[in-house]
Amino acid sequence: MPSGASELTSRLRKICGSEHVLSHAHDLATYRSDGLSHYQQTPVAAALPGTSEQVQQVVRACFEAGVPWVARGAGTGLSGGALPIADGVLVVLSRLRRILSVDLDDARVIVEPGVTNLSVSRAVAPTHFYPPDPSSQIVCSIGGNVAENSGGAHCFKYGFTTNYVTALEVVLSDGTVAQLDRDAPGYDLLGAFVGSEGTLGVATKIALRVIPAPESIRTLLAFFEDTGGAGEAVSAIVDAGIVPGAIEMMDRLSIKAAEQATGAGYRLDAGAALIVELDGPREECTSRLEQLMELCSRTGALDVRLALSDEERDLIWRTRKAAFAAMGRIAPAYYVQDGVIPRTRLSEVLRTIDTLAAEYRLQVANVFHAGDGNLHPLVCYDSAREGEPERAEELSALIVKACVDAGGSITGEHGVGVDKKAYMPSMFSEADLEAFQRLRCAFDPHGLANPGKVMPTPRLCGEVPGPYREHPLERAGIAERF
């Protein structure tokens, strides 16, 4: 524990109230990891501020004590982005869960960061909805979504968190507050902040755009011999200019696990299942649905089922969303990856994964957002078997490499966090990383906001080089610095 820690902790207690600052190891157990539980760390203290002013004071206190801090929402992240720092403070935002305003005339909702994703859609239903829908949407918080630029099954058509955040109130690491607004003049600070994984500051108020709920939703479940066949169907759909609300694919192993969990009636003899959801104006859905069913049959679907009721649709989706959790039925543990590939390289990359899995004598289940090429390979292993966790980790890394080699990305929606920072140099050169660091240093020159995440190696911010020079416009009296 660094010197002055107890002084800082007592200051935090004054700010938040004693009951909202945890500093004993047993109280901190819950906060030692996020959704990626194989990374664990106990912070010096966890502060649970109840207002945005308290967040500001907590951050200010950390700044004055020179102590780093990590912001945490619901802790569902899958990249260790909210992993605490041993010598740092965890700023837990779960008490900031008020919906501050719902204004359908402007299609805007303003929330505190601890509000859950699903409750935004609930607040504007039935006429509107909030499109980004990570699988954890029942519990994950909007503040976490902003930090990670979360996606979800429907982002192929509707886009990501960054496309829906219209304004933020943020606390910077020196405790100052800035208003970032999409419509404000100047640099797109908002765009830089969303998805910065808590390294530029912490959002304390979040304005979101919501959109009209689709008039019609048609959900179709098709089974194929193998993922290659399902991949062909996806290509045919996209080539026909159809933009479904969601296109999700599951392979044989994930079907097996998920079906055991929900008993939805997924075909166990199929090598791949494809969920295609059309949404929009009813005429368009009806006309596209016909075309879609024909495309599935033409590309060799074994079976095409249409959800005939909301219950049937829910069951299809519940099964898809259960895939991660259900994997426990197949193996005691797994690594989940989040690589992205250009969609047209799908078959090739899946073949590579199969070959690698055979070589490493491990099972890999594949669940993915097929429309945008975001794969979630689940590398199954058993820690009780010697060498298996290491083999799984190695295989996992090779799968990420295969995605990057195919022209893709190491992460589509889970974020870099601590988990994937070692892969950053496979995608970005030293010059690229150095440019990232310039952004980070502009927001957080002292490196106090979530240090040790995103960047592969620790870096410090130097002073801004170059002396102040008077601008020609200042000389001419046209513009002034303020």
């Binding site: 005339d105 402007d106 996606g151 982002c155 192929f156 886009g159 960054t162 507050v177 800035a178 208003q179 970032l180 419509d183 404000a184 003049p185 100047g186 640099y187 797109d188 600070l189 908002l190 765009g191 830089a192 969303v194 998805g195 910065s196 689709p214 996209v238 200019g241 159809i242 104006p281 005429e283 368009e284 250009p342 969609r343 047209t344 090429g373 975001n374 022209g407 893709g408 990305s409 589509g412 889970h414 950053m424 995608m427 050169s429 690229d432 150095e434 440019a435 990232f436 952004l439 927001f443 995103v454 801004v464 170059g466 020079r469 601008h471 416009l473 200042e474 513009a479 610095r481 303020f482």
Partner: protein, 381 residues
Amino acid sequence: MATAPEPAPETFEAAAAALAAAGAESRSVRILGAGTKVGWGFPTPQADLELHTTNLNRIVEHNAGDLTAVLEAGVPLAQAQRRFASEGQMLALDPALGPDSAATIGGVIATGDSGPLRHRYGAPRDLVVGTTVALSDGTIARSGGKVIKNVAGYDLGKLFAGSFGTLGMILAVSVRLHPVPVATGTALGSSDDPDLLGTAARALAAAPFELEALDVSWNAGHGTIMARSGGAEAVRRSTRVAALMRDLRLRPVDVEIDDAEIWERQRAAQRSERRALVRLAARPSLLSAVLHAAEACGGTVVGRAALGSSFVALDPDAVVTLREGLPAGTVAAVLDGPAELRGQLAPWGTPDGGALELMRRLKARFDPAGACNPGLFVGGI
């Protein structure tokens, strides 16, 4: 002694070297595409060097199956669109392209310019998935990638979109494409009453029509709302939109199937050669107040009815009155207009103090030499 830099470099390396040389010698650089928006922002003294993207003009990739493309900054947007259209695709960015449709992709992104399609598809920042930039110390840096879903690293693409070349020079971008709708139809409904237009715009925006575009125009006491549907059933859908327009008491109401010209007119009215052009960002529900304010100054308006983004053309002398007459919180940026006016009026409006401080820090980190387009942007950055 550095050799004289090329004014229109053909490679990324040459562009970066030219910037670095200027930076090292404390010379100012004006970064230019086709120059169609060169008059926007604070007027600035003649730069020591003009650096053109003209020769960075390759369409590097068009991955039709992946709905992505990689373009060098100097590619004219119109040329790229022709290429995408040959595969039934488009980059969903339709700003006014200037004389001879010369606007380049780099210029459109650097200025954050957009048109009616913003309603459905967003602004440049929403369509750029990767960026390569040159900085004034000679760095060439990439961010993002060329897949449509990607959260690895910081989103410098958004930072550079709309930064007016003040952080560095955009060399190339990867963009997300969309299919061109197989058919379109536009419903038009008119009224002379700004309040009725405001109410109708809200109702149309809240209806589940999934419109490609929802625009408004206002000219000399007469306004029209136009709603474009795209897709196999576009015509039937437009009929339904028209029915709602009638319910909302817009008169007359028409459906136009051959609708390209309507939208071309909207785009063209986002620029003004002879008058001043002020771009507004207001809460969408304030549309009627915006129309009233523009009418009071003899201004004409086009804009995105559901987004609160409007373009007012008016006499330069009336700009101050317009700004005073707008609802509180509206951002009014003077784009086209005499240099004199832009010099006097703080053309960008006033940013939040905390945000401006961040912008200055960003400028200092990315362009420590202060070489890139100095003085023209917000706060004289």
